[in-house]
């Protein structure tokens, strides 16, 4: 953590404790800590998600997973996604954000469903919308889109469907195209 970064005092303690705990392990912690508009976020590697979340929940009282979502940075491919966890502690009344970078080639993250049951549907939603797999998830099905849907709508390279505006000069050509599409669908 850079020296000049001044965090909410108790969060500094927590992050220092996390670093102390994980630096002893083979891969280290090396989380990138940032503060923006009073919100502290940690950038951690996917393989650390389970252990860091477990530690946050059991040792530091972050017992509430408020939100789990993702964000796509396409055309950047490495990392392409960030999976964003928002954890909250009732006892400390504090929020912490964890961001996990995910590459385009292997979009997988270990599940936290075993730690926070609420993550079950959130992870299904992220799988549905971004195509990020959660390893160890018991029931990773689509949740919002129909089961036979192709593609993952919230990816940035997924087009936002729209109706072509028809003017007088191109009305007929578009009409013909629409009809043909309609027949092909049927």
């Amino acid at each position: 953590m850079p020296e000049e970064l001044k965090l909410t005092s108790s969060l500094t303690d927590i992050i220092a404790a996390l670093q102390q705990k994980f630096d002893a392990q083979p891969f280290g912690f090396s989380a990138e800590v940032t503060e923006f508009r009073g919100e502290v976020s940690l950038l951690i590697a996917p393989e650390k998600v389970q252990s860091v979340m477990q530690s946050l929940r059991d040792d530091f009282g972050f017992d509430y997973l408020a939100s789990l979502t993702a964000s796509d940075y396409w055309p950047q491919l490495e990392p392409r996604f960030h999976v964003v966890y928002q954890v909250y502690s009732f006892s400390r009344n504090m929020r912490l954000c964890l961001r996990v970078p995910v590459n385009d080639s292997t979009p997988t993250v270990p599940t936290v469903e075993n730690l926070y049951p609420v993550a079950n549907w959130h992870e299904r939603e992220v799988w549905d919308m971004f195509g990020i797999r959660f390893e160890g998830h018991p029931d990773l099905r689509r949740i919002l889109m129909p089961g036979d849907w192709e593609g993952h709508p919230l990816r940035k390279d997924y087009p936002l469907g729209y109706e072509e505006p028809q003017f007088t000069f191109n009305f007929d050509t578009i009409q013909v195209r629409k009809h043909r599409a309609g027949y092909e669908e049927a």
Binding site: F36, R37, E39, S41, D63, Y64, L65, A66, S67, T69, S71, D72, V84, Q86, F90, N93, R95, C97, Y116, P117, V118, N120, W121, E125, M129, P138, D139, R142, I143, L144, M145, P146, G147, D148, P153, L154, Y158, L160, A186
Partner: protein
């Protein structure tokens, strides 16, 4: 015509027990069109007699791609879509979204705008609770409560229509303040409501709170402990019904909630009845907040003066060239927010409504995600309903107060 999708037995394997596949227990579809599922919700039930062994919520019927659509619109245009998510808490949705923008932009909001925001969100909370109470009682076969609740809800709808021109999809709260100031009749209308409503809450309570049929149908039904409720991410009245005195208006105050006195009602039973009592008491607390906010409502501007985000008033356009430029820029390109991401939770009538807003520095949001309480509460439904009767399931759905537009987005 596409072929009707055949149900694959393998797909069911994860959802129901072995006995269902052998035909020992009954599989029943409840919904998607069913009056007591409070919207378009399908529940795949596994029943033994009338007892629910398994309940699998199937959502997504109201998915309209709001998050995807918002990415293609400027911040101001995208706000209109937030109304359409939780259609019983439109003002609250606007508030979460606008607060997130204001947090990213470090935009100030004048005190009058904050006061009006509080009054309207609290009125909206009461209106939402009234719909909940009416439909919840209706599900448990108490018809008259529904009619009374909708009568009072109409008063709130009239107030919303008075200030914004719309009963439901108001989009009245805007980044940096409000659309415009409230009309002169606003204060009288709210005071009229404050005068009438306390007696009406008592009236509902005489109909239900000690009603033996209602108590039979709600006590010890759908019980969840505080610890489980937290692990399952429950929030709002459903969490307070399990004895956790957590309210975001108190824990992380926004819009000046720290100035107002109110209690956080809790019940320790964690059942349908407990959640009912919490919501009834919450309506009274909301009234207290509205009363205080209205008494202290200062005069003054209702929009921030920061012209980079908030369009100048119409009157300035004739005299100031800068105002014309700002007006033009804001209504064509829109404003750009600094690069970064914020998560802003507010207390909606159903629980924690969190708006995750990420900006890439451009005029359109890079990612908007709404952490909606209905989505999370639906997930708890299988846990709450296990071992209860189908008739009780209806009460349990009502007690966690879901809005499917909120869950599916």
């Amino acid at each position: 015509m596409a072929n009707l999708m055949e149900i694959n037995l393998d797909e069911l394997k994860n959802l129901v027990s072995e006995r269902a596949l052998e035909g020992e227990t009954v599989l029943l579809n409840m919904g998607p069109q069913h009056p007591s599922t409070h919207g378009v919700l399908r529940l795949l039930l596994e029943l033994e007699g009338e007892t629910v062994l398994n309940c699998n919520p199937d959502i997504g019927f109201l998915h309209t791609g709001i998050e995807k659509n918002m990415e293609a619109k400027t911040y101001e245009k995208a706000e209109v879509m937030t109304d359409r998510m939780d259609y019983l808490n439109t003002v609250g949705n606007n508030l979460a979204y606008c607060l997130a923008i204001e947090k990213l932009a470090e935009l100030d909001v004048p005190p009058r705008a904050q006061g009006v925001r509080v009054i309207l969100t609290e009125l909206q909370r009461i209106a939402s609770h009234l719909v909940w109470l009416g439909t919840h009682a209706l599900d448990l076969a108490a018809m008259s409560v529904f009619l009374y609740c909708f009568r009072e809800r109409e008063m709130i709808m009239d107030i919303l229509e008075m200030v914004s021109g719309q009963r439901m999809m108001t989009t009245y709260i805007r980044p940096g303040g409000l659309w415009r100031d409230t009309p002169v009749e606003f204060e009288d209308a709210v005071r009229q409501f404050l005068r009438i409503f306390p007696a009406r809450i008592d009236q509902y309570e005489t109909l239900l709170s000690k009603n033996p049929i209602f108590m039979d149908r709600t006590r010890n039904i759908g019980v969840i402990s505080a610890k489980e409720a937290i692990a399952w991410g429950m929030s709002g009245p459903s969490l307070r019904g399990s004895g956790v005195a957590h309210d975001l208006r108190r824990a992380s105050p926004y819009s000046g909630y720290e100035q107002y006195e109110f209690d956080i009602p809790t019940e320790t039973s964690g059942d349908v009845y407990g959640r009912y009592l919490v919501r009834m008491e919450e309506m009274r607390q909301s009234l207290r907040i509205v009363q205080q906010a209205l008494d202290r409502l200062p005069f003054g501007p209702v929009r921030s003066n920061n012209r980079k985000y908030v369009p100048p008033p119409r009157s300035e356009l004739g005299t100031s060239m800068e105002a014309v430029i700002h007006h033009f820029k804001l209504w064509t390109e829109g404003f750009s927010l600094p690069k970064g991401a914020v998560y802003l939770p507010v207390e909606s009538p159903r629980g924690e409504l969190g708006c995750y807003l990420e900006s890439d520095g451009g005029p359109k949001p890079h990612r908007v995600h709404f952490r909606t309480p209905s989505f999370v509460h639906l997930q708890v439904l299988p846990k709450l309903s296990k071992g209860h009767l189908v008739a009780d399931l209806v009460g349990i759905i009502g007690s966690v107060d879901i809005v499917l537009g909120d869950a599916d987005r």
